[in-house]
């Protein structure tokens, strides 16, 4: 049985290998930021990367490279950490810092666009395989229109919570809805707005007539 709300190890390995698109890498890094055990696994996968690096054949390097490098060291000595001067313009301390760096502005200050009854979105990026990264903000009590998927949909909860059937998703947990998930109908828990980081791999198929009507407008 897969643990509830946690991503599979194959994603951690691909993250460590550098094999994820930035859209997926940001989502996985954000999810893992809540999970110390998974951070440990990523370190293990990176150690495998380091060992693979050690076993690389040795490429010929120019004879002068070492001398040139040594000559550069004194110059770099003074640089220290001065270059690290991030504009931390997102001050939401409740979300992962990789996501804060990426967003650059607080969640509340983003340009939220109405997407449907009780639902707003901010489109963030499109990955190399057409996958879309976006934020969803849904009012407490909202029922997301029932839909099927044509690709995997990943939903990481940042604030608030929702449930699908008996599965409950709270901040830090991720829901993976594979292409074979039919009639997917998440229900936002009563109370505060639920904000999620979502990666949608392929256009989702809305079931209802109304859903199909609004689809072109919400851009999913």
């Amino acid at each position: 049985m897969k643990p509830h709300g946690l991503i599979g190890d194959e994603w951690l390995v691909s993250y460590a290998a550098g094999a994820l698109s930035n859209v997926h890498a940001l989502t996985i890094a954000s999810h893992v930021s809540y999970q110390p055990e998974m951070q440990e696994k990523i370190r293990a996968a990176e150690a495998i990367g380091g060992d693979i690096l050690c076993q690389e054949e040795t490429a010929a390097i120019s004879e002068t490279l070492l001398a040139e490098t040594l000559a550069k060291l004194d110059h770099h000595e003074t640089e220290q950490e001065a270059a690290i001067n991030k504009e931390a313009s997102n001050t939401d301390t409740d979300i992962p810092s990789c996501l804060r760096d990426y967003l650059g502005a607080n969640l509340d200050d983003l340009n939220w666009k109405l997407m449907g009854p009780g639902m707003h979105q901010v489109k963030l990026a499109t990955g190399p395989e057409g996958e879309k990264l976006w934020l969803l903000r849904a009012r407490g009590g909202t029922i997301i229109p029932e839909h099927d998927h044509r690709g995997t949909e990943m939903t990481l909860v940042l604030r608030g919570s929702y449930h699908v059937g008996s599965d409950h998703y709270t901040p830090g947990l991720i829901e993976i809805a594979d292409a074979d998930v039919l009639n997917h109908q998440p229900m936002i828990d009563e109370g505060e707005d639920c904000i999620c980081l979502v990666v949608t791999e392929a256009p989702i198929k809305l079931k209802s007539f109304i859903g199909r009507m609004v689809q072109p407008f919400i851009g999913l």
Binding site: M38, I61, T69
Partner: protein, 190 residues
Amino acid sequence: MAHISSIATDTVTFEELAALVAKKRDKEAFATLFEHFAPRIKSYLMKHGLENGHAEEIAQEVLITFWRKATLFDPQKAKLSTWLFRVARNRMIDLKRKRKYPEVNADDHLAQMVSAERTDRPIEVKQDAKLVASALGILPKNQRKAIELSFFDELSHSQIAEKLSIPLGTVKSRIRIAFNVLRKELGDQG
């Protein structure tokens, strides 16, 4: 050209050399590390599509980054090869995608921190590359392939599925199983 470095790496570990760089700003220790790692990092970068001159330049940059940040390297937490791999990987991705690879910040301490899953023993820091070679060797060929396509070719799960003409679910389970075999293997022997 005369080699500046004369430290024999079979009597001293990379982590000990790294400590000399961090604490004593020891250039001889740095040169020894450079001679070991620069050609390997260059080879890794070339496999990922960087051309010769560029790969060399970035390999140099990775080692200079280590010189600058050596005091931040904690041998209790990671092996030097892991640290250099991470820097090389991030630098390569920055270059190819013109965007920073998102990194997990272990100091986030998010209020909601959940620990839903028990993990096995963390991998031992002192494993060496030969063990990984033999650990990779015990994997069935198809699992090994999935790991190598991830690390060498940066292929996504769906790209691997396409390349090997196998279902996506099979790719995921092969990577998952292989990773857990490697972790156990390396953890037990560490």
